[in-house]
C-alpha cells in the first residue's frame, strides 16, 4: 500500500449540500418552544389584568397564528442547513454576477457593526448620545464627495435603486421649482440598469431608451434626436453593463444641459474608476453609489444594501431630509430644509452599512482605492482575454478595445453550433460550485453572460473559473445532453417552473400551496 494521494483533477468534483430539507411547517412538533419571553411581573398583572382579552371582538385574535412549533436547536439546524444550500462571496469564486461587484466584504467591518454602540442605537436618541455614528456619516459623506467631485450627498436611500429614485425625485422637484412643467421625458440607455427607466416611469416620466451602435454606446446623433424641451433628464451608466466606457460622455451631458435637462450618473459600475475619473469632471448634476457594491458592504441575499446620492450645490437644497451637519463642535441632523423632497426612507439610511463602507475606505485610503480599481480592471481584461479563447464565446461591440471592470459576453456561436443556451450553461456551472448571471432583459446581447471579477479574486481563481467554463463549453459540443439536463450536483434538480406563471397553480406561501393542492384533488 502506498500512502500517495493522487493529485486533484483540474476541474473540481463539487457537490452542493443536499439536506433534503422539508418546508419548515413540516418540522413543527406541537408544544415545542424556540424562545421564551420575559415574564410579566405580578405587580403589573394585578394592576391591569389580561388587557388583550378586553379587545373588542372583531379586533381580538381568537386563533393564534399557525406558525411552526419548534425547539431552538431545530430552528437553528433547519436554517444552518438552508444556509449551506446557498453560495455567497465567502464560498465561491463569485465573478459570475456581473454588474453587482461581488467583492470581499471584510469580516472586521461586520464585527465593528455588531457593536451594541451601533446595533442598539435608536434613531431618535438625543444627538449628544449619537455623536459617534453622526461623525461616521458625516465623514463618509466627505469621502464620497471627494470620490465623485459632487458637492453634497444623502446616505438615506436603502440601496441603489432607491438612490436612483431619490435622484428622480430631485430632478422632478428641480424642474417643478422652476415652473418647467413641460419636461415629461427621461432618456436612458438599454445597458443602464432597468431601475433608471423604471424609477423614472414610476415618478411619472415617459421613457426614451437609446440602443448601442457598433462601438457599444449610443451615438450622439441618437441622443440629439431624443433631446428636446421635454427632456427632464438623462439617466445613464458609464461604463455601461458591457464594460465599455463611452468616451463622448461629456458631450452627451453638454447636449442635455443645452436643452435644459439634468444629467444623472448611475455609478453602479464605479469599481473600475476610483481615483481615475469622477462624475464632476464629466459634468453630471447627480450621481449615485451602491455602498454594497463598490464599497464592500455585504449583499445580504439582496439587501439590506445602502445607497448614496450625490448632487451639485444647485440641487443640494432638494436632498431628502435630514442632512448630517457639523458646526465645528458637534454633529447634528438638519431637518429645517424647506425645499427638500422629504423622506425617501425612515430615518437616515442603513447606518450599519454606512459604518462598514466608512471602515472599508479607511482601511484602503486613496492609494488603496486606486489600486482596487486598477486591479479590478486588470482582472477583467485578463479574464476576457482567457474567456475569448473558449470555443463559442465572444464579446460583442467595440472589437479590439479594452473593457473597464466587466464584460457582457455572448455564447451566440456556441448556441448556434450546439443548441445549448446561455441559461443552461449557467445551470451547469452550478455543478462545479460556481454561478453566473446572463443579463438584464431584454437580451440585447444574444445568449449573454456577464462577468465582473472585481479586485477580490486572484489570477488562480480566474484561471479556475475559465477552465470550468471551457470544460462546460466542450461538454456542449461533445455531450450537450449533460448541459441541457443540468444541474446534476446541486441541492435540487431541474425545476418544473411552469406553475409559477399560472394563477391557478402558483403558490407564494405554504398555505396557498396546500389550498391549491387540495383543490386539484
Amino acid at each position: 500500500m502506498s500512502i500517495k494521494i493522487a493529485k486533484k483533477p483540474a476541474i473540481k468534483r463539487f457537490h452542493q449540500a443536499q439536506w433534503d430539507e422539508p418546508v419548515i411547517f413540516e418540522l413543527s412538533q406541537p408544544g415545542q418552544r424556540g424562545i421564551l419571553l420575559p415574564e410579566v411581573e405580578a405587580g403589573i398583572r394585578e394592576e391591569v389584568g389580561d388587557v388583550a382579552a378586553t379587545l373588542p371582538d372583531p379586533l381580538r385574535r381568537k386563533i393564534p397564528p399557525q406558525l411552526p412549533e419548534m425547539s431552538q436547536i431545530h430552528v437553528l439546524r433547519h436554517y444552518d442547513r438552508l444556509s449551506q444550500e446557498n453560495l455567497g462571496v465567502d464560498l465561491n469564486i463569485d465573478i459570475g454576477q456581473g454588474t453587482c461587484t461581488m467583492k470581499y466584504s471584510p469580516k472586521v467591518n461586520d464585527q465593528l457593526a455588531r457593536s451594541p454602540k451601533m446595533s442598539e442605537l435608536h434613531p431618535l436618541q438625543d444627538e449628544s448620545t449619537v455623536q459617534g455614528i453622526l461623525e461616521i456619516m458625516y465623514r463618509l459623506e466627505q469621502m464620497l464627495k471627494e470620490i465623485s467631485g459632487m458637492d453634497r450627498f444623502t446616505l438615506q436611500p436603502g440601496a441603489g435603486s432607491a438612490a436612483i429614485y431619490a435622484n428622480v425625485a430631485m430632478i422632478r422637484a428641480y424642474h417643478a421649482a422652476r415652473g418647467d412643467a413641460a419636461r415629461d421625458e427621461v432618456i436612458t440607455t438599454i445597458f443602464s440598469h432597468p431601475s433608471n427607466a423604471a424609477c423614472a416611469k414610476t415618478a411619472g416620466y415617459k421613457i426614451i431608451t437609446l440602443y448601442p451602435n457598433e462601438d457599444g454606446y449610443p451615438d450622439l446623433l441618437a441622443l440629439k434626436a431624443a433631446v428636446s424641451e421635454r427632456t427632464a433628464a438623462l439617466m445613464i451608466t458609464n461604463p455601461e453593463d458591457t464594460g465599455i466606457y463611452n468616451p463622448r460622455i461629456a458631450e452627451f451631458v453638454d447636449m442635455v444641459h443645452a436643452a435644459g435637462g439634468l444629467c444623472s450618473y448611475d455609478q453602479a459600475n464605479l469599481n473600475g474608476l476610483l481615483g481615475i475619473a469622477r462624475a464632476r469632471e464629466a459634468g453630471f448634476d447627480l450621481c449615485h453609489f451602491n455602498l454594497h457594491k463598490t464599497f464592500s458592504t455585504p449583499h445580504g441575499c439582496g439587501g439590506p444594501g445602502a445607497g448614496a446620492s450625490g448632487v451639485t450645490e444647485v440641487l443640494a437644497p432638494l436632498l431628502p431630509r435630514p442632512t448630517v451637519e457639523f458646526d465645528g463642535q458637534k454633529y447634528y441632523l438638519d431637518f429645517d430644509r424647506p425645499h427638500s423632497v422629504g423622506k425617501i426612507r425612515p430615518w437616515y439610511g442603513v447606518a450599519q452599512n454606512i459604518l462598514k463602507a466608512y471602515a472599508w475606505i479607511m482601511s484602503l485610503g486613496a492609494d488603496g482605492l486606486r489600486q482596487v480599481s486598477e486591479i479590478a480592471v486588470l482582472n477583467n481584461n485578463y479574464l476576457l482575454n482567457q474567456v475569448l479563447k473558449i470555443r463559442g464565446a465572444s464579446m460583442p461591440y467595440a472589437a479590439g478595445h479594452r473593457r473597464i471592470e466587466q464584460v457582457r459576453y455572448s455564447w451566440e456561436q456556441l448556441t448556434g453550433d450546439t443548441g445549448v443556451h446561455s441559461e443552461e450553461i449557467g445551470q451547469r456551472i452550478v455543478d462545479y460550485g460556481m454561478h453566473y448571471w446572463t443579463s438584464h432583459h431584454p437580451f440585447v446581447v444574444p445568449e449573454p453572460m456577464t462577468l465582473e471579477p472585481t479586485e477580490s479574486y486572484s489570477k488562480t481563481d480566474m484561471d479556475e473559473y475559465v477552465a470550468t467554463l471551457k470544460h462546460i463549453a466542450e461538454e456542449a459540443y461533445t455531450d450537450p445532453q449533460i448541459v441541457h439536463t443540468a444541474p446534476h450536483n446541486s441541492t435540487v434538480h431541474h425545476i418544473e417552473h411552469e406553475c409559477l406563471d399560472n394563477p391557478d397553480e402558483w403558490a407564494v406561501t405554504w398555505r396557498a400551496y396546500k389550498r391549491k393542492l387540495h383543490s386539484q384533488k
Binding site: R33, L37, S119, L121, I133, G204, A282, R345, R402, V508
Partner: protein, 465 residues
C-alpha cells in the same frame, strides 16, 4: 510616492507585483493605463484622491472605529422609551447567528439552483408572514414600511384605475411625506380627520369625503400614536361600498393578539418587519412587507419579487422560483410595476427565523405582555399631576401619547431632564402633531420590566414637579 513599492493589500490578492506583470504580459498591455485609453484626458482626475491616511492593520482600524463608536450611548446603557416606528425588542441569538452566516450574508442574486437555501428561506418567510396575516400572498421584503405603504397605495390606484387615496391624519408624518412624494404626480392624497377624544378615525368625515374617485382608504393599526383602530371593519366596509380598497399598515408583532386586517376587510396589508428580530441599528434595521389574498388582479400589481414553490423532476424535491416574473422591472424595465431591486432580503430570512422561534404561543404571549406593560405604564403616568394620557380610553399597543401641557414644560425640557437621569424619553410630537400640544410618544415593549416603568414614572414625577 511613485517609487515606493505599493502595499500588497489583503483585500486585493492580485496586487502582488509579479502577478500584475504576468497578467499584463498575458493581455499584451504595458501598464494598467492601457485599459483606461478610452477615458478622455479632460475627464481624468490628475491628482490622488484627498482621503484620510489609511489604517492598514485591523488593530488600527478597530481602535479608530471603536473610538468613534465610544462617543455613542446605546439603549443598553440608557433606559429607552423611544419607538415611533423603530423598536427595541428581544432579539433571539439564533436570529443573529443565521444572518451572520457568510452563505446568507454574502450571497446576492443567484438562481434557484445554487441559491436554493435563500429561495427556500424566503419562501418560508412569506409563508410564516402569511400565517400571521391570514393572507396567501406576501412579497420578498422591499425597503421598509414606508415604501411598503406607498407601493400598496400605488397598487390600489392601478387596480381601481382611480387617482385619489384617503389617509388617516394620525399617520406617521414621515411616512406621509414618503407617501406624498411617491404618489406624485398622478395620485392625490387627502387626509381623514380623527376624533380628538380617542384618536380614532372620524367616521362621519370619512362618509362625507369618500367618493367613487377614491382608490383606497389607508390607516395604520395599531396607529402611529399607539391606539388600536377598533372601527376597522366599518372603515373597510365604507371603502368597499365605494369601490375603494382598504389598505392597512400593521405592526406584525401585534398579530399574536390583534386580528390581522384580513379579518376585518383589509385588501392590501403592509408594514415593517424591523420588530421581528432586527436590531434598531440607528434606523438601519427596516424591511417592508406587502400582502394580499391570492387574487391575480392584485398579485399582478406587486412590484416585488414573489418566490413560489414548484415541483422538480425528482419526486419529493421542493423547487422554488419567481412567481409571475413578467410583472417586474427586471423583466420588462419601465413596463413593469414600479421597480424592484436590492432591498432587505436578509431581514426577511431573519424575520422567518424569528417567527419560527416564537411560534404561535410566543407571539400570543408577547402581544399579551406588551399590552399589559403598556397599560400599566399609561395608568401610572396618567396619575402624575400635570401629566395626561389623552387617548387613555382607547385600546393601545406598544405606544401611547403623553401630554405635558399641565406641567408648564416643553417635551424638549422634560427629555433633557430625563436624559440627565439616564432615560431616553418619548418622541417629541410637538412639531409633527401641533394639535396635541406638548406631547410625546412613549413606547413600551417586552424588554421593559416593572422596575423600568416604575423608574420612568418616579423620574417623570420628579422632573415635572
Amino acid at each position: 510616492m511613485e517609487n515606493e513599492p505599493r502595499i500588497v493589500h489583503p483585500y486585493i490578492p492580485n496586487s502582488v507585483p509579479a502577478v500584475i506583470e504576468e497578467m499584463l504580459k498575458a493581455v499584451g498591455a504595458s501598464s494598467v493605463e492601457d485599459f483606461y485609453a478610452e477615458i478622455p484626458e479632460r475627464l481624468r482626475l490628475k491628482r490622488p484622491l484627498d482621503l484620510p491616511k489609511p489604517l492598514l492593520s485591523e488593530v488600527e482600524l478597530v481602535r479608530h472605529v471603536e473610538g468613534l463608536l465610544e462617543k455613542n450611548k446605546s439603549t443598553r446603557e440608557f433606559l429607552s422609551f423611544l419607538g415611533a416606528g423603530c423598536w427595541q425588542h428581544q432579539i433571539p441569538a439564533v436570529c443573529d447567528e443565521i444572518n451572520s452566516r457568510g452563505e446568507f450574508l454574502t450571497a446576492y442574486a443567484g438562481d434557484p439552483y445554487e441559491d436554493h437555501g435563500r429561495f427556500q428561506a424566503l419562501f418560508e418567510y412569506e409563508s410564516m408572514m402569511g400565517e400571521l396575516l391570514n393572507m396567501d400572498v406576501v412579497n420578498v421584503p422591499n425597503y421598509d414600511g414606508f415604501q411598503a405603504a406607498a407601493t400598496a397605495l400605488r397598487m390600489a390606484a392601478r387596480i381601481t384605475g382611480r387617482g385619489r387615496v384617503l389617509v388617516a391624519a394620525t399617520t406617521n408624518t414621515d411616512m406621509l411625506s414618503k407617501i406624498r412624494d411617491y404618489l406624485a404626480p398622478d395620485i392625490q392624497v387627502e387626509l381623514l380627520p380623527y376624533r380628538p377624544a380617542d384618536g380614532l378615525l372620524d367616521l362621519a368625515a370619512l362618509k362625507a369625503q369618500i367618493s367613487e374617485q377614491d382608490a383606497a382608504v389607508f390607516f395604520e393599526n395599531p396607529s402611529y400614536l399607539g391606539f388600536i383602530e377598533t372601527q376597522a371593519a366599518e372603515i373597510s366596509a365604507l371603502a368597499h361600498q365605494h369601490g375603494a380598497l382598504c389598505v392597512v399598515s400593521v405592526d406584525p408583532i401585534s398579530l399574536g393578539v390583534i386580528n390581522p386586517p384580513a379579518e376585518y376587510g383589509g385588501d392590501i396589508v403592509c408594514g415593517d418587519i424591523q420588530p421581528l428580530g432586527m436590531h434598531m441599528n440607528y434606523g438601519g434595521g427596516h424591511g417592508g412587507f406587502i400582502a394580499s389574498q391570492d387574487d391575480p388582479r392584485i398579485v399582478m400589481e406587486f412590484p416585488s419579487r414573489l418566490f413560489g414553490v414548484a415541483p422538480t423532476v425528482v419526486a419529493g424535491e421542493y423547487g422554488f422560483g419567481d412567481v409571475a416574473y413578467e410583472r417586474t422591472s427586471f423583466a420588462v424595465r419601465e413596463e413593469g410595476k414600479e421597480w424592484v431591486g436590492t432591498a432587505a432580503a436578509l431581514w426577511g430570512i431573519t424575520a422567518g427565523v424569528y417567527l419560527a422561534l416564537m411560534g404561535p404561543q410566543g407571539m400570543q404571549e408577547l402581544g399579551q405582555g406588551i399590552m399589559q406593560r403598556l397599560r400599566y405604564a399609561m395608568k401610572k403616568i396618567s396619575e402624575i399631576p400635570g401629566v395626561a394620557v389623552p387617548f387613555e380610553k382607547s385600546h393601545h399597543f406598544k405606544e401611547f401619547v403623553v401630554n405635558f401641557d399641565g406641567t408648564g414644560q416643553s417635551v424638549a425640557d422634560i427629555n433633557r431632564s430625563l436624559l440627565a437621569k439616564g432615560i431616553f424619553g418619548g418622541k417629541d410630537l410637538s412639531r409633527d402633531f401641533p394639535k396635541l400640544g406638548h406631547s410625546a410618544l412613549f413606547s413600551v415593549t417586552e424588554v421593559h420590566t416593572q422596575a423600568d416603568i416604575d423608574r420612568l414614572v418616579a423620574t417623570l414625577s420628579e422632573v415635572v414637579k
